[in-house]
Amino acid sequence: MDFLTLIQLLDSTVRLATPLLLACLAGLFSERAGIFDIGLEGKMLAAAFFSAAIAALTGSVWIGLLAGITASMLFSLLHGLASITFRGNQLISGVAINFLAAGLTVLIAQDWFSQGGRTPSLMGGARFEPITLPFAEAFGSVPFIGPIYQELISGHSILVYLAFAMVPLTWWILFRTRFGLRLRAVGENPAAVDTAGVSVVGLRYAAVMICGVLCGIAGAYLSTALQAGFVKDMSAGRGFIALAALIFAKWRPWYALYATLLFGLFGALETRPDVIEALFGIKVQGALLGALPYVMTVIILAGFVGKAIPPRAGGEPYVKER
């Protein structure tokens, strides 16, 4: 494998890791606050559709992004109502959101655009275009570092940079701010937060809404940056892989970056079977690589590679006792 192939592979890894990373961080906020969210997939899908649809209708990708985030947040609100206010089962609520999003997006797409459940292809300002970082051209000829800068670091859409910037930001919010302390506390022992005079409900809603925003960006990225338009079921299990990455990352922001990059790499390799063949001399089925994130998560969950301890109050509605 030559250097350029490697750069291409890593470039593709970054692109594929971005939606995973955003969704993973979305899940991280929610689950750290004690609300399990299996509906990341559905929220991404809904956001993907509404971003593409509104971008197609208005011609502005930014309005599209806003629409996607709004859609995702509405689903978050639904999840919040079910699991925080009405203390329902968080898994069931999440599954319901996934089904709802899968059906609703296609239905509305067909009604609006009559293109078999797709949106029209997005062009120009209706899409996030790659950004060329300063001096990318000039540096390009410098050996080694040049291609890394030009091909790998430069030339992504703004959402990719945003996603990567979210990692240190999430870490800082969680571990360096009052909000983060309370958020982590409410996922571990909501009674401690409650008796300290802080609203458990308020914190959990805040977390769930942040989750909605990030899922919205992840969905918008799918349909307006990675692809040019919405197609049926385009989230393609990424929400679940993000959940797997979250477990793999043990609910930590930096580990989430590493986990999603790793899973992104699997995704990139899936599209380049020739690379694997060149490296290992064997043919590997693409589907096998696609399954790898799940296999690895099971291994993690089985406790082979250190223990992944979820937030202790996760999945449990908080009922004030005596």
Partner: protein
């Protein structure tokens, strides 16, 4: 108005807390009925009552968890509304709950500032809290490492963190709900020294408990609650445990266990050189030798965590061990692979586990389902390939009747019974099988005084039928009252054995602390 014996001198200062006519109902259940109480500043005021008497409800009202249906609260003479915990904290009330409200994987410092941070950023808050905390620790003699993670601290230390949490929020009034329920005797003594110190510094302390001894030792005044009503408030020095017990229960209570001397027979349980290594590789039992004979109760005393739980687990059949255990002369299989509760029951061993809510019952299941557990293969409970639910229910109803479980409703979920009645359900299940050997762990933990009496009587009755009983309890009083012979465990060893008639708390306390003969 409920009776008040605080005659004579009326203190001049305004009461730190005054409740007037507090009432609270949950549906048809009147949890608090017209409660009035005055607590003077700089005193320790005890509130005693059985489980379900309404003590916790009253304190929850004071801490803003519930809103009273009727009545008024005065703090330092000023009428105060307490709609939520925040208002309670603002009014200078701090609460130390029975089950600590700490975030286990946070540090002490993080737990202390949670909800009382100084600003949006943590670093300056933590720095300030560290300084204040060290001052508080110094002032009240409460030493805790600010950077220790809660789950690595013992319960006594965790409780200190709770107290410090309240003090950090500048609480003048400290409410402690059953604070010694989880503490060892030594830790409880330490706690009472801390409370004394707090009182000297002018804090007002409300101590909720159902243990008479603590009331007598620690408090200045005591209020008694029964069935939602405040039945009396008296000066502690003017009352006696017997009087308080009677006020609590509403009838005369036997504080001592009435039992005849034991007539030990053949050896039922014979333990030789028993070793247990836990899953972290730590040796928890380091060569135990112990015998229990038919017709005697052997009590295992010791500070929690010195191997008593492991001993019960091995005997109960759910932990691995090396060494030898014989029951009625026949060896027990000590590998966890082959043994379980079922194989132990087949050998005539019944087990009332230490933690009834985790190991003794399934809290969401009904009383009759819980009664069938472990004995569900019993012929009487079968009807072809199905369980004979009607038979189990009938059997449960009879058992509930004999063990005075209230309410006697087999269909009620275990979680809806009080602690004492839950324990009676477990005891009925195990004792009524007429085992040769009964293992009992912490039989009266969190159980009210009326039920304690009954539970003790049942255990003694089994002994009098010529059965062997192995009792593990961290309550020295209970061990001394119930056991015929006492073995003290320390650090995985038996430090010594005494006949309970020939020893006292002081001698056992020394053995418990690892001070040898």
């Amino acid at each position: 108005m409920s009776g008040s014996d605080t005659s004579g001198r009326q203190e001049t200062a305004a009461p730190a807390i005054e409740l007037q006519g507090i009432s609270k109902a949950f549906g048809p259940v009147q949890a608090n009925k017209d409660i009035s109480i005055r607590v003077m500043p700089g005193t320790i005021h005890g509130i005693i009552g059985e489980n379900g008497a309404g003590k916790s409800t009253l304190m929850s009202i004071l801490y803003g968890f519930y809103k009273a249906d009727k009545g008024e609260i005065f703090i330092a003479g000023k009428k105060t509304d307490i709609p939520d915990s925040q208002a309670a904290i603002a009014a200078g009330i701090g609460m130390v709950f029975q089950h600590f409200k700490l975030v286990e994987n946070f540090t002490v410092l993080e737990n202390i500032i949670l909800g009382a941070e100084d600003g949006g950023l943590l670093t300056p808050s933590l720095a300030k809290a560290r300084k204040t905390l060290l001052e508080l620790e110094h002032e009240y003699g409460l030493n805790v490492d600010p950077d220790a993670v809660i789950e690595e601290l013992g319960v006594g230390m965790q409780q200190r963190v709770e107290i410090l949490k309240a003090l950090y929020r500048q609480a003048d009034i400290l409410i402690l709900d059953e604070p010694t329920g989880v503490l060892t005797p030594a830790e409880a003594d330490q706690l009472f020294r801390i409370l004394d110190r707090l009182r000297e510094e002018g804090k007002t302390i409300i101590l909720i408990t159902h243990k008479l001894r603590e009331i007598m030792e620690a408090t200045d005044t005591v209020s008694v609650m029964r069935r939602g009503e405040m039945t009396a408030t008296v000066k502690t020095k003017d009352t006696s445990p017997a009087e308080l017990a009677e006020l609590m229960v509403g009838r005369k209570v036997l504080l001592r266990v009435d039992k005849k001397p034991a007539v030990p027979g053949d050896v039922v349980l014979d333990i030789k050189d028993l070793h247990v290594v836990d899953d972290k590789g730590v040796e928890r039992l380091k060569g135990i030798d112990l015998q229990v004979r038919a017709g005697e109760i052997v009590g295992i005393a010791g500070v929690a965590g010195n191997g008593q739980s492991e001993l019960l687990e091995v005997l109960g059949g759910y932990a691995d061990a090396t060494g030898e255990i014989r029951v009625n002369g026949q060896p027990l299989d000590l590998s966890g692979k082959h043994s379980d509760g079922r194989s132990r029951r087949a050998r005539g061993i019944a087990h009332v586990p230490e933690d009834r809510q985790r190991e003794g019952l399934i809290m969401d299941f009904s009383a009759w389902e819980n009664t069938a557990f472990g004995y569900h293969r019993d012929q009487d409970y079968q009807s072809g390939v199905l369980l004979n639910n009607a038979a189990i229910r009938a059997d449960t109803e009879a058992k509930m009747e004999r063990f005075d479980v209230r309410p006697p409703n087999p269909g009620l979920a275990a979680k809806n019974f009080s602690g004492g009645n839950q324990q009676k359900i477990v005891l009925a299940r195990e004792i009524e099988r007429n085992p040769d050997l009964l293992l009992v762990g912490q039989p009266t933990r969190g159980v009210d005084i009326g039920a304690i009496e009954f539970i003790h009587q049942q255990i003694v009755a089994l002994r009098d039928k010529g059965k062997a009983v192995l009792l593990v309890s961290v309550e020295l009083e209970e061990i001394l009252a119930l056991a015929d012979r006492v073995a003290v465990m320390f650090d995985g060893h038996i430090m010594g054995e005494r006949m309970s008639a020939e020893t006292d708390e002081k001698e056992l306390g020394l053995l418990m602390a690892g001070v040898g003969n």
